[in-house]
Amino acid sequence: MSHVIDSCGLSCPQPVLLFLNAVKENPHGPYSVLVDNDASRENVSRAARNRGFAVEEEDQGNGVTRLNMVKT
């Protein structure tokens, strides 16, 4: 069961901080992060790849993307 983080409505760097704080608690995940802007999508994806997660994007409509992240 993946831990879902909803960062919609937040601007950078808040979404990536939510994700990094969660990873501090549980480094293995998996995680799903909902983002609603390109900057957040890029920042969170980059942080996830840097922490050894594979990132898969899922379009949720209305400008929201779900980033599914599984430790590789």
Binding site: C12, P13, L17, R46
Partner: protein, 337 residues
């Protein structure tokens, strides 16, 4: 403001200036210069700029000093010498209460310390009550109009020397978020952003450099592109040669990039060519919005050694970060390699 919208807004306002008034502007908004150079009667000229910031560090004195160094930097970037300045401050009501007034005093003292070091007199100022604390200065300098460093003065073959390390936007993000390393980040910001660009300014003057800019809100990439586009050339930056503030690369890899820096990269994407193999974190750092960043000096090859020696002797960095190249057919004016 975001780079594109600011440009559109200014074009609309400047359009109705009568030619005899416009003639007073020797260098300025038409080429997005760092500061405006104005003709005075008798063949003399002044250089003016105004800059205002919200705090990027918690210490009031350090913030005041950073804001002043940031404002003075525009004068140095044109090859001018600071002469006088006026404070502009926006203070929340809570800070105007008697027991908080020392904060305002410390900010203004920080500004004054930078002005004194620059040899400029604080001539006055103005305060406004506002919800968010802001402090900045309108700065005036003297300049020789025959020897100013302008955005359209780039020529193929020139080297580009950068005088301060990059990453203040990223470190300010880390400091604001109280993330790991926040204290060290704030320390680095205090030292680097509070440093004047006076040494680089003197190098512009003594070597009669034709082009320079200071690196601020649009990031190294944005400011380099402004010069390249104004000069009709292209610029190649060697991303491996970029000087970085401590831990900036690590933070960039963790996505701790402020929204403004993302906007910069997106705005200039169509003018930028990123060669294969360039680290995407370094690409972000190239467009990281800087506060009181260094000068980017365009130096002809035969003067590079002398310029580096002068910068290093004055305690600045002298990083040869790239080169000016001829314009490209594909319209890309910034190559990251």
């Amino acid at each position: 403001m975001a780079p594109g919208s600011l440009e559109r807004l200014l074009q609309g306002i400047a359009a109705d200036t009568p030619p005899h008034l416009e003639a007073r502007v020797l260098a300025g908004r038409a080429r997005n210069e760092d500061a405006v150079v104005l003709d005075l009667p008798g063949g003399r000229a002044i250089v003016q700029s105004v800059d205002i910031l919200t705090p990027i560090v918690n210490d009031a004195f350090a913030f005041g000093r950073i804001a002043a160094a940031n404002a003075l930097s525009d004068i140095y970037a044109m090859g001018g010498e600071p002469w006088c300045a006026m404070n502009i401050a926006c203070f929340p009501q809570a800070l105007a209460e008697e027991d908080a007034q020392h904060i305002l005093a410390d900010i203004l003292r920080g500004g004054q310390s930078a002005l004194l070091e620059a040899g400029a007199v604080l001539a006055g100022g103005h305060t406004v009550q506002d919800d968010e604390l802001k402090y900045g200065l309108a700065v005036t300098g003297v300049i020789d109009p025959a020897h100013m460093a302008v955005n359209n003065g780039l020529k193929p073959g020139q080297h580009l020397l950068l005088t301060k390390p990059l990453g203040t936007g990223i470190l300010a993000t880390v400091a604001k978020a109280r993330w790991e390393g926040a204290e060290e980040s704030e320390q680095a910001l205090t030292t680097v952003c509070g440093r004047l660009n006076s040494v680089g300014g003197r190098v512009i003057h003594s070597l009669r450099l034709s082009a320079a800019t200071d690196i601020t809100g649009f990031g190294l990439g944005g400011h380099a592109l402004e010069m390249a586009l104004a000069s009709g050339v292209s610029i190649a930056l060697d991303t491996q040669a970029l000087p970085l503030l401590p831990r900036v690369l690590e933070y960039a890899r963790d996505g701790l990039i402020p929204a403004g820096s993302h906007l910069n990269r997106r705005h200039w994407q169509c003018f930028t060519l990123v060669e294969p193999g360039v680290d995407e974190a370094l690409e972000s750092i190239v467009f990281d919005a800087q506060t009181s960043g260094g000068l980017l000096l365009a130096v002809p090859p035969h003067q590079v050694a002398e310029a580096c020696a002068l910068l290093l002797a004055g305690g600045d960095l002298a990083c040869d970060v790239g080169q000016v190249l001829p314009a490209r057919d594909d319209g890309r004016a910034l190559i990251l390699r």
